[in-house]
């Protein structure tokens, strides 16, 4: 028994696997990671759970799947303009008691859907069983908007972080590996670039054209790679001087192997532990831009716009509390992940967080 345990301990693991194991032992971060990953994956098939379009409609012996295709109301003999309203359709079919039926998502309100016709009184409506987080001043369901905003926030932050890291790593690596003139020239360019005022550029661009998701990603990326180069450059300088790299040079390793096989994998530690916090920063950045009105165009369900509405209608507590609470929970979960990652990459054995 004891021997078996010994044997298992003897199985050799790479550094990465070791770190992943250590990460898993830090429960707070690990569970946050699982939850965020799960929710993010779910958010790609969100229309199956939350949305206005029915999953399946059986009408006059034909099957339709409105979440994939557009169907005008007239196709189902509904007397409203534009797309069919499946909630009303379901009510109608069940009253008719015929062969027709509608399968709706669990939560059947879309993020951009105006529900004025189906609600009583003036918006915003307080939370109720039907609208669990109430409706906003344009009578849209707050829960649906928050749920759809999750995917936008995370996707935005992930893409910006990914591309900014990519640019930062490439430029920092060039500086650190080649040093000398390459380093100096790139450094001057970075310094010039860093003096461009990010907020003004965004405001100017947003006033000239309506920014969409990709344009915002691009602008944010262009302004957030700079810090990464500092880390990567420093790491490259340090690792390059180590003997294992000299050994590789002495055996005639080609430059690309020196960079990609030897130096790069050993230079990523600081920026990997930095990544979750960069994601937090980018989520907050999008929220701020949306809040200020320079972000994604309406009616995109973004968290910043929800919070802005909450500010304007501060007396309707659900417009303030729910978006803020959800954003807070998301950010804190990612911070937990970041803490755990940092801890997992820390060579010291005894962790604080356990």
């Amino acid at each position: 028994m004891a021997e078996e345990k010994q044997n298992r301990k003897q199985i050799s693991v790479s550094l990465l696997k070791k770190r992943w194991r250590k990460f898993k032992t830090i429960k707070r971060g690990y569970y946050s990671f699982l939850i965020i990953v799960f929710l993010y994956l779910i958010s790609f098939i969100l229309p199956l759970f939350i949305g206005r379009s029915a999953l399946i409609v059986k009408y006059n012996d034909n099957y339709y799947s409105p979440i994939f295709t557009y169907h005008a109301a007239s196709e189902f003999n509904q007397n409203i303009p534009g797309e069919a309203n499946y909630r009303l359709l379901k009510k109608q079919f069940s009253e008719e008691n015929g062969n027709n039926w509608v399968l709706l998502p669990v939560y059947s309100f879309g993020p951009n859907e105006n529900l004025l016709d189906e609600t009583e009184g003036n918006p915003p409506h307080p939370p109720s069983l039907k609208h669990i987080m109430g409706t906003d001043s344009s009578c849209r369901d707050v829960f649906a908007r928050i749920a759809y905003g999750f995917n936008i926030s995370i996707s935005f932050a992930l893409s910006v972080t990914l591309f900014a890291f990519l640019i930062g790593i490439i430029i920092g690596a060039l500086q650190g590996f080649f040093g000398g003139v390459v380093d100096i020239i790139l450094h001057r360019i970075i310094e010039i670039w860093a003096t461009l005022p990010f907020l003004y550029v965004i405001i100017i661009i947003s006033s000239l054209l309506v920014p969409n998701f990709f344009l915002l990603c691009l602008i944010m990326t262009l302004f957030s790679w700079i810090g990464i180069t500092y880390y990567v450059r420093g790491e490259f300088y340090r690792e390059k001087a180590k003997d294992y790299v000299s050994a590789a040079v002495a055996m005639g390793a080609p430059t690309r192997n020196l960079i990609f096989k030897h130096i790069l994998p050993n230079s990523l530690t600081p920026i990997i532990s930095f990544a979750p916090f960069a994601i937090v920063g980018n989520i907050t950045a999008l929220v701020s831009l949306d809040f200020l009105g320079f972000g994604l165009p309406p009616p995109t369900p973004s968290w910043g716009q929800l919070i802005e509405q909450g500010m304007i209608n501060i007396e309707y507590w659900w417009l303030v509390a729910f978006p803020l609470a959800i954003q807070f929970l998301t950010l804190i979960a990612i911070v937990f992940i970041g803490e755990a990652v940092r801890e997992a990459f820390d060579p010291k054995v005894y962790a604080r967080l356990r």
Partner: protein, 334 residues
């Protein structure tokens, strides 16, 4: 180039420019190696000894052309000739691109076993890498060769799957030696391979190097700052001081009958009772080694030399034959 030699160094000088000030201009030249000559015969071990900072590693790195990689502004002059199948080549003149093919002839074992292995590669991958560049053997053959080399350096073939962080310093140094052997080199430069190890492990690693040397018919440039370590393994010893070779000869000669006052001082620092040293005279050097930035005129050693005279400041003593096969650079010592 002499028939028996595998390596010949002629008049090698290495200067590191020292930059300073706001504009990073060159303000001085650090003369780390000052016109030295060396030869290593096939299958021979040359011990290179000297205090730290005297330029031993710089010579080693010049031989495998590593200096430019980390100090692009370094100035290297002289000739470093090695014998290859394609005749003799001068490493200093050769472009990196053309040199790559000959990289396998000379390999190096580093001082620090912790930084000399890539922490992200398994021991097997570390030993395999040089084979990929220098031999056209299949993956299976490479695996067999990894196992063979691990056995040769006194480890188990199963340990190929392990990562460096799972090993002790001595075992890592063995991995470093296996990596150096992987290309079937003619010459191995061992740059203080045991200085970072526990004393109890040092002898093991030195013995291992000695066994491997005769088995693989290697030539060895063994660098150390301790004469007693070198004496054991080398057939010849060169003693360095401040970028110059001050004494060179057969190992026993230099160890038991040193000529140069610096070698005598180095030896009297060895804590073993040695019969041959006359009446147990102990030479304790005054002061520190001068910096190569500000070398004394004439003989570099004169500032600390017990027998220095006026002439020593005026001209540099040449390395001359003092006894049979025994050279020293001193005007007064016999």
């Amino acid at each position: 180039m002499n028939q028996d030699n595998i390596l010949e160094i002629r008049n090698l000088s290495v200067n590191f420019p020292v930059t300073g000030g706001f504009f990073k201009r060159k303000i001085a030249d650090l003369n780390a190696v000052d016109g030295i000559n060396l030869e290593i015969k096939k299958g021979e071990t040359l011990g290179l000894v000297g205090e730290s900072g005297c330029g031993k590693s710089t010579i080693g790195k010049a031989i495998i052309k590593l200096l430019k990689f980390n100090s692009p502004d370094v100035k290297v002059s002289g000739e470093i000739l090695i014998k290859t199948e394609d005749g003799e080549i001068d490493i200093i003149k050769l472009k990196n691109k053309d040199l790559r093919k000959y990289r396998g002839y000379i390999q190096i074992v580093f001082q620090d076993p912790y930084s000399s292995l890539n922490p992200r590669m398994s021991v097997g991958q570390i030993i395999e890498e040089p084979m990929k560049y220098h031999s056209k053997i299949s993956k299976k053959e490479r695996g067999e060769r990894i196992a063979y080399l691990l056995e040769k350096v006194g480890m188990q073939p199963e340990q190929a799957k392990r990562y460096p962080h799972e090993f002790s310093g001595g075992q890592r140094q063995r991995v470093g030696i296996a990596r150096a052997l992987a290309t079937n080199p003619k010459l191995i430069i061992a740059d203080e391979p045991v200085s970072a190890l526990d004393v109890s492990i040092q002898a093991q690693v030195i013995n291992l190097l000695q066994e491997l040397q005769s088995e693989f018919d290697l030539s060895l440039l063994f660098i150390a700052h301790d004469l007693s370590v070198v004496e054991h393994i080398s057939s010849k010893i060169s003693v360095m001081y401040l970028g110059n070779i001050v004494e060179s000869g057969l190992s026993k000669e230099v160890y038991h009958k040193p000529v140069h006052p610096y070698s005598k001082a180095l030896l009297s620092a060895v804590p073993l009772p040695r019969v041959s040293l006359e009446k147990n005279e102990r030479i304790i050097l005054k002061g520190d080694i001068p910096t190569p930035l500000n070398k004394p005129s004439g003989c570099g050693f004169r500032t600390r030399c017990p027998i220095a005279q006026k002439e020593c400041a005026e001209s540099i003593p040449p390395l001359e034959l003092k006894r049979e096969n025994h050279f020293a650079a001193c005007f007064f010592s016999k």
